[in-house]
């Protein structure tokens, strides 16, 4: 079955990059512009993995994580945080918030696909 990815990022550029990389890898990719839209999309069509930015308007990435983890639906879905920060305390913060993993921007497509495969168990 095709892996369904939900990518949440307020940057159109990053969204398109993620979408391209995911689709090139054979995954299905839904996009959302901000946290609120992301959580709405998540409920409408539960994905197999969520990739989210942290700094976003309306609801930030931590908000997305807590909304998903605190919900009753698919609360254990893997959530990957797309971040420009590699500082250890920020990773810890993402982990404490409930993130499954993180991808440090700028991701290279091989790395991002590899992480998605790793947390979803999808084989190449």
């Amino acid at each position: 079955m095709t892996i369904k990815v939900l990518a949440i990022d307020d940057s159109r550029t990053i969204r398109s990059l993620v979408q391209k990389v995911m689709e090139d890898a054979g995954f299905e990719c839904t996009l959302a512009d901000d946290g609120v839209q992301g959580v709405t999309r998540f409920k409408e069509n539960p994905p197999d993995v969520v990739i989210t930015d942290i700094n976003m308007p309306n609801m930030d990435g931590y908000g997305v994580i807590s909304a998903i983890r605190g919900g009753s639906l698919h609360r254990n879905v893997p959530i990957l945080v797309l971040t420009t920060e590699s500082a250890p305390h920020l990773k810890a913060k993402a982990r404490d918030a409930g993130a499954t993993g993180w991808i440090v921007k700028p991701f290279d497509d091989v790395a991002i696909v590899s992480v998605v495969r790793r947390v979803t168990g999808a084989r190449a």
């Binding site: 307020d10 940057s11 159109r12 550029t13 990053i14 398109s16 990059l17 391209k20 512009d33 901000d34 609120v36 839209q37 959580v39 709405t40 409920k43 409408e44 539960p46 930015d53 700094n55 976003m56 308007p57 309306n58 909304a67 983890r69 605190g70 919900g71 009753s72 639906l73 698919h74 609360r75 254990n76 879905v77 893997p78 959530i79 420009t84 920060e85 590699s86 500082a87 810890a92 982990r95 409930g98 993130a99 499954t100 993993g101 993180w102 991808i103 440090v104 921007k105 700028p106 991701f107 290279d108 091989v110 790395a111 590899s114 992480v115 790793r118 947390v119 979803t120 168990g121 190449a124």
Partner: protein
């Protein structure tokens, strides 16, 4: 790769928007609005530019955005103050960021030399916050930050070599964070041969079993040549969410096969099943909706991005539709049917429909002047900096929409006028203080729609025009006769004469050979006049009036020497049918019209264009009073006035070239082309002599070439 390059284009397009949002946010902060959402929005704008830039390896941009963002992050964390000096640094940094984006787009590095100076200023802001740490962007932005592509480094383990003994006991948080021990083990299996042993010893009896308290642990033996850090990386995401112990052992014997797992295969199966069990049971999607109680997405209005070429194709097609409509209307009119005939009503409906479609299509190209206005605040800052003045820009009516082309072509004249307002309009700092004014001057820039036109005003609160000095300069430069006596408006108009410059010293800003005459010509090319109003001691106001679109024009359809032509309505003040006593012959062939006590030059359009009327043509009787840029009021002789209508503008440049006295052409209802006249050029008596002189000069040149 085209997908990649189109995303790159998207990045620059998005960056433009982000830079606008940044300017907008900073303007709000400048206005004293320091609430978290405003500062956050500013932070996000820079952050998003950095993120996108990183994806395209635009390192100079990333490095600068990173430092900029660090300062903003400190501000939103209330660790450094949002005071005027810091705000100034932010504003300048935003300008520089815009330059760096432009550099990246054009693949130049023209602005990078200035980066260091801005970095110093940004660091100085951080200096105010002793706790602030400027993390170096180098590490997160190197591409090798994470070695996650395990397949690349995974090597088939040799019979001899090393192996790892891994003890792994997940905590509840590991499952809660969406991890699956089976997947972690599978990832390890990608590195080499694994033997997995499930430890069920902590599993309580069924009655005491609590799925929220994980009780499973695994012992894994991984035979692999990889570095220990690679194994550790597999558990990177679960650090702190499990008990983990990784030991590296070296196997000596080459001949000895790897020891068989002491574990029956079915236990592995159990392990997988158990891990599934340990995760909460899946919930059916039917329970949807009772979750976090989030409202519908509140994002901005949905928009569609369309290639401009497609819009222009549509505009062309609609132009043809309008022409086709008027052709049909004309034919129907020629049938002289009763006004209530079905076809007449349908044709009228068609006209209204076509007009609606045209307006809707034009609206697609309409853009708010806001981005243009925002760019002007930078011009004000730069002009103030280089003249040692202090100035602020206040804008009004930023949402006013104008055709994209008009917005684009307005940028240069507007920039010049804004510079001019700061440079010449505002007094020096001392001057303002002496006059009891706020030392910081204000430039008001506003846009408004008024009867089918856009009115742009640029107003300063400076000293006003020094008319005595203007006249003096004009006389000194022989722009007017030495004994000329001019009223205020006439004096002000001297500013627009070519070669006029009021600055007593040639400043950095003006004196580049660009005077207000260039501004006036640029605005006139867009089809609008520029006017000045000035009050001594209170300031000067320039007003530009522009058409909403360059694609259509409201025109008066006239005939000249048997040709149907169009004159832009905006130029026409009134239509006059003069009596015999109103026209006066002066000299050999000059005519003047007397109207309301004034004498106004009369120009015969046919003669101006070099057309001759047929011998038996009746003497033309209609005059159009027009306002021209260079000649003031002027009366144009035409043979006949038909009606007013909106016409679609067709350029003559594409397939031919410039024609003196003609600005463009249009297609009439009968499919014939009508020329759109440029009243300014026609009123200017030099049209004909000039054209003749040019032709003669060129012919001469050609003859010379031919001889040589």
């Amino acid at each position: 790769m085209s997908a990649q390059s189109s995303i790159r284009d998207m990045f620059f397009e998005e960056s433009e928007e982000l830079l606008e949002a940044l300017a907008e946010g900073l303007a709000q902060m400048n206005a004293g609005n320091h609430d978290d959402e405003t500062v956050n929005a500013v932070f996000r704008a820079v952050h998003s530019i950095k993120g996108g830039a990183g994806a395209f390896k635009l390192t100079a941009l990333v490095a600068f955005a990173h430092r900029f963002e660090t300062v903003l992050d400190e501000m939103r964390g209330h660790r450094i103050a949002i005071d005027s000096s810091n705000l100034q640094v932010l504003q300048r940094s935003a300008d520089h960021l815009a330059d760096l984006v432009e550099d990246a787009r054009t693949e130049s590095d023209a602005s990078s030399v200035q980066t260091e100076g801005f970095l110093v200023a940004l660091d100085a802001c951080l200096g105010a916050s002793p706790g602030a740490v400027v993390s170096e962007p180098d590490e997160p932005f190197s591409f090798a930050a994470l070695s996650l592509d395990l397949s690349d480094i995974a090597m088939p383990a040799e019979a001899a070599g090393q192996h790892f003994r891994i003890e792994f006991r997940p905590h509840a948080g590991l499952y809660a964070n969406g991890h699956d021990p089976a997947l972690l083990i599978a990832t390890l299996a990608d590195l080499g041969d694994v033997e997995v042993e499930l430890d069920l010893s902590r599993l309580p009896d069924l009655p005491d079993y609590d799925p929220a308290k994980p009780s499973l642990s695994w012992r894994i033996r991984l035979k692999s040549e990889v570095e220990e850090t690679v194994v550790q990386d597999v558990f990177e995401f679960v650090e702190g969410l499990c008990d983990l112990d990784i030991k590296r052992e070296v196997v000596e014997a080459v001949s000895e096969p790897a020891p068989q797992p002491p574990m029956p295969a079915d236990e592995v199966v159990v392990a997988v099943e158990r891990t599934d069990l340990a995760r909460p049971a899946p919930v059916t999607p039917k329970e949807e909706g009772d979750g976090a109680g989030l409202t519908e997405s509140r994002g901005p209005k949905p928009t569609l991005r369309v290639d401009l070429d497609r819009v222009d194709r549509l505009i062309n097609a609609v132009g043809e539709l309008i022409i086709n409509q008027s052709m049909i209307a004309q034919r129907v009119q020629e049938l002289r049917l009763a006004t209530d005939a079905d076809v007449v009503t349908h044709v009228e409906d068609y006209r209204l429909l076509a007009r609606d479609i045209q307006e809707a299509v034009m609206a697609i190209r309409a853009q708010p002047v806001k981005p243009l206005f925002q760019r002007m605040s930078r011009i004000v800052r730069e002009a103030a900096d280089s003249t040692g003045k202090s100035a602020r820009l206040v804008t009004h009516g930023e949402g006013t929409e104008v055709d994209k082309t008009v917005v684009e072509r307005l940028a240069d004249p507007l920039t010049h006028m804004i510079r001019n307002a700061v440079d010449h309009g505002l007094e020096s700092l001392e001057g303002r203080i002496a006059a009891g004014k706020d030392p910081c001057g204000t430039i008001h820039l506003s846009a408004a729609h008024r009867s089918g036109a856009v009115i742009i005003t640029i107003r300063d609160d400076g000293a006003g025009l020094n008319r005595r000095k203007i006249l003096e300069i004009a006389k000194k430069k022989n722009l007017v006769s030495q004994d000329a006596e001019l009223n205020d408006a006439e004096t002000d108009a001297l500013l627009f004469l070519p070669g006029f410059s009021t600055a007593s010293t040639i400043s950095n800003l003006s004196g580049r050979g660009v005077g207000l005459d260039v501004v006036r010509n640029a605005v006139a090319a867009l089809g609008g006049p520029v006017s000045i109003a000035s009050n001594p001691g209170q300031g000067t106001e320039f007003t530009i009036s522009l058409p909403l679109t360059l694609a259509v024009l409201d025109g008066m359809v006239v005939s000249v020497a048997g040709q149907v032509m169009v004159i832009p309505i905006t130029a026409i003040l009134e239509t006059i049918r003069p009596g015999v006593n109103d026209l006066h012959i002066v000299g050999t062939n000059e005519q003047l019209l007397s109207i309301r006590g004034k004498f106004i030059p009369v120009v015969d359009v046919a003669k101006g264009l070099g057309f001759t009327r047929p011998a038996n043509h009746p003497e033309p009787k209609t005059l159009l009073l027009v306002e021209t840029e260079k000649q003031g009021q002027c009366a144009l002789i035409v043979d006949r006035v038909f009606d007013q209508r909106q016409v679609v503008i067709k350029g003559l440049d594409t397939n031919y070239g410039a024609v003196p006295g003609v600005s463009a052409a249009t297609v009439l209802g009968d499919g014939q082309i009508a020329l759109i006249l440029d009243p300014d050029a026609i009123a200017n008596n030099r049209v004909l002599p000039l054209a003749e002189a040019r032709t003669a000069a060129k012919l001469n040149e050609e003859r010379k070439l031919a001889v040589a």
